[in-house]
Symmetry: C2
Subunit: 155 residues, 2 copies
């Protein structure tokens, strides 16, 4: 996988969270994930299938950041990761991937998105099992950390 | 989503685990998942995209069952859910979905599979965020429990 393929996901994520939740994420350095494990409390995952390649995207939030995003969007802070929070994480996953799909389409890389899946559970870890490199970008914010991972076969 | 769409996944799973790991899973009654939450320790997830629909599949194992499957396949039991176990869960996810894809293709329903993602973490829960019904089948075995969930938009 070409590292430049991560940028559309980064751009789309900053745009979605800035617009929807007035939350500024500060990206760290993108890196190729090897043994490293990134933990989080709630994650949105989605599969992608195109004529040139297939792959997967995930976004993982600390609980504190997920609850703060809900608070900034809806004006009320849930006590814990409930169904409203997992719905929001699924929606963010769709929006970020949809934005990246448009940007990648402009470069001639087309794919269709599957439906999102949301995982909740304290300190879970995600492993993408494609044949290509797994690119990870960590983010910090005033309300907690997040990270995204993108992996494609054969680009 | 038509409930009969779950059967190819059920057939394929029983076949894969019986053949690869001499493990017999006993299926419970398929049901439509509403508020119910199914927990597990390691899960394989995959997205599916086709001309008629899109969706997602997940399979979740208790740790004890995942470790026993490894032991029966390789002759050695890992101490915990390590990278070899997540590789195996990713491979099972691919094989079960590939088997179901063939069976559904015979009925005229085609889809392509994305790449699998594996989640590990004690007692995590999975929520499929498609527009269609979420069908859950629980399984019991001599070594622990598993469950599969399938969800498609608009069938």
């Amino acid at each position: 996988m070409n590292v430049e393929f991560i940028n559309p996901f980064l751009t789309s994520l900053l745009n979605v969270l800035g617009t929807m939740a007035q939350t500024e994420l500060k990206p760290g350095k993108p890196r190729i994930k090897k043994d490293e494990v990134a933990c989080g409390d709630v994650s949105g995952l989605i599969g992608m299938v195109g004529p040139q390649t297939k792959g997967s995207f995930s976004i993982t939030f600390d609980e504190s950041l997920a609850l703060t995003i809900m608070e900034r969007m809806l004006g009320e802070r849930p006590d814990s990761i409930d169904e409203e929070v997992t719905d929001m994480v699924g929606e963010i996953t769709n929006m970020v991937t949809g934005g990246a799909k448009n940007l990648l389409g402009e470069k001639g890389y087309d794919f269709d998105m599957a439906t999102p899946i949301v995982v909740s559970g304290k300190g879970h870890t995600i492993t993408h099992k494609s044949d290509g490199a797994k690119i990870l970008i960590p983010f910090t914010s005033d309300a907690g950390n997040a990270n995204i991972e993108v992996s494609f076969d054969k680009i």
